[in-house]
Amino acid sequence: MTYSVQFGDLWPSIRVSLLSEQKYGALVNNFAAWDRVSAELEQLSARDFVNEAIFHGEPEPKNGQTAAPPPASWACSPNLRCFTFARGDVSRFPPARLGSLGVMDYYLMDAASLLPVLALGLQPGDTVLDLCAAPGGKTLALLQTGCCRNLAANDLSTSRAGRLQKVLHSYVPQDVRDRNRVRVTSWDGRKWGELEGDIYDRVFSLVAEIQAVWILTESWLYHLSAREVWVLVDVPCTTDRHSLHEEENNIFKRSRKKERQMLPMLQMQLLAAGLLATKPGGHVVYSTCSLSHLQNEYVVQGTIELLANQYDIKVHVEDLTHFRKLFMDTFSFFPSCQVGELVIPNLMANFGPMYFCKMCRMT
């Protein structure tokens, strides 16, 4: 089995977590009465892991000297509030409700999905392109930061783009959507590079939800019951429960093997498009909900090589070690990524999988 080779002794605990109920985080909607909502969530014994990480996760200064401030690129995207239950606590959040301001109070999502948004390190006035934006958790988070002067959210599938629209309508007031020039499109994300050129200073490239999340060996699939396969497919789509029951679209069916194998190619094209659309000096975060290094590190390294060779574009991978340390209490990280970081599911903290890698376009 591919994954047992890749993860060794960690694989059984990852596997049991994937096949068991995932854990959710409640992303507070800043466009609703967020302080009241936060207080209510705290009453449930949940806590804001972002707040805890940023304000309590700073490393102690050595020898009594004041710690050097972290480089600007390490700063997390601001204004994000996300509540989770403690390690080992399997309580569930009640479903989100419509607040008095006409928008929902919080959005339930895989808390690990917030990390790529945090890692992007948005600053006020940024223009953001979100490729493969559906079902909308990360897109919504981007809007919560309040930093997006322009947000273009794209997804390949029309139906999924439609769902994304619905999410944005339920959570973001009309005037904010207009102000941020939120544009939801359903074009083939790969074409962005050609159309928009180097407009975007920060590009948020997501290549997650093409339904195939892991590449699994044939024999393992054969032995899993149908229900188990659906659960696997559903996990990375965070709150997108529709894929749980989409038997026709299930990419793990044997007949779709070729599609699975083509995935890294597609992912490379999308990442390349994202990098090409970025201004020099701008940042790209590539993230997937896959455990497979074929979809993760190989894609990153392959794309960087491709851009260097074919376009003479230099891309630098940023070290996220400090960032990872901030969130180690809430999430389980895989210790041996060559580039980027990988949140692995664990029964004590059943978030993820979530791979993310931050890059800076140099030239």
């Binding site: 089995m1 049991v16 109920e21 080992g88 004590m348």
Partner: protein, 337 residues
């Protein structure tokens, strides 16, 4: 005389039966009213250690009013003698069966109200079923209610158990952990045996073996027992022979599911395919079910107590919710687009 007197005093436990004997004799043979009444009352008071003012029941008055009575005291004492003789007979029979003096005393004091012959009859059935004296004592001390069973019922049940193959010494274990095998209704035993034979398709020998080794199956709901077997056979791929050998049916469904599903999701247990093969050999059943939780986690699952704890909670919730869904899904769904 003195000996008889002692017996009278000691035999206060025998009063109820003796009383009825006296009463019968008295009405038949007649006797002096006053003397009888007085003596009867006196007997009662002396034996039960009460004061003069007490009169235990209305009955003596009734019989006293009968026209004909014999001299009560003689009759009483004769009855006492008869009972004592019977008791002696029982004691010697018990000694013959192989019980020691100690055993005999123990047996006689288990349930004081029991008539010695009743005691002997019950014990005889157990001996005939192949139990040794020591286990009989232990079993009866633990479950004195057995001594209250009608002897006919006891005989019928014994013959049924013999048919099931539970004679010849196999009964000891069953009796210790499940004495209800004598007191429960015949049809309840039959329904369990029926599930094992007709639904689970165990052989007759296997059924005997199961009852012998896992007598607690007799206490289970037949439907749940069948489900337990199906879980073993279809879900875990365990064959009939191994279900019997490993005493699978004695473990609770909750414990079995927790440990099995945990291993399955960890990737450490696989349901065998049609040929009965798995990619990697499954752990032995005894390493799954028979060992303690700590050993199970360390040796078989190779996981931590905290992860298993969380898993058990999640699994319990899954079970609860799937039961709820099945209860809701009363009518078949219509074909969707």
């Amino acid at each position: 005389m003195a000996a008889l007197g002692r017996q009278v005093l000691d035999g206060h436990r025998l009063i109820p039966l003796t009383w009825s004997l006296i009463a019968r004799q008295t009405t038949r043979l007649g006797g002096q009213k006053r003397t009888t009444a007085f003596l009867l009352r006196k007997l009662t008071m002396v034996s039960s250690g009460g004061g003069l003012g007490e009169s235990p029941s209305v009955e003596p008055q009734k019989y006293v009013q009968e026209p004909e009575h014999r001299t009560g005291l003689t009759q009483c004492l004769l009855e006492k003698q008869r009972t004592a003789v019977e008791r002696e007979k029982v004691v010697s029979s018990l000694l013959d069966m192989g019980f020691s003096d100690v055993h005999v005393n123990e047996l006689l004091s288990i349930q004081p109200g029991t008539h010695p012959q009743q005691l002997l009859d019950i014990i005889s059935e157990l001996i005939l079923l192949g139990l040794n004296p020591e286990p009989v004592c232990v079993a009866l001390k633990k479950s004195p209610q057995l001594l209250k069973l009608p002897v006919m019922h006891m005989k019928k049940r014994s013959s049924y158990l013999r048919k099931l193959g539970l004679g010849e010494g196999k009964l000891k274990r069953v009796l210790y952990s499940c004495p209800e095998i004598f007191t429960m209704r015949q049809r309840d035993i039959e329904s369990i045996v029926g599930v094992l034979k007709e639904k689970c398709l165990f052989t007759v020998k296997q059924v005997t073996e199961i009852l012998h080794r896992c007598p607690c199956v007799l206490r289970e709901d037949p439907g749940e027992l069948e489900y337990k077997f199906q879980y073993a056979y279809f879900r875990m791929g365990i064959k009939h022979v191994d279900v019997v050998k490993t005493d699978f049916l004695q473990y609770s469904m909750t414990k079995t599911k927790e440990r099995h599903v945990f291993l399955e999701r960890l990737g450490r247990y696989q349901t065998p395919d049609k040929k009965g093969q798995t990619l990697v050999p499954n752990p032995l059943l005894r390493d799954i079910l028979r060992v303690s939780e700590a050993e199970f986690l360390a040796k078989t699952a190779c996981s931590s107590a905290e992860e298993f704890g969380v898993f058990k909670e999640l699994l319990a919730r899954e079970e609860e919710e799937s039961e709820g869904r099945m209860a809701d899904a009363g009518s078949p769904e219509e074909a969707g687009p």
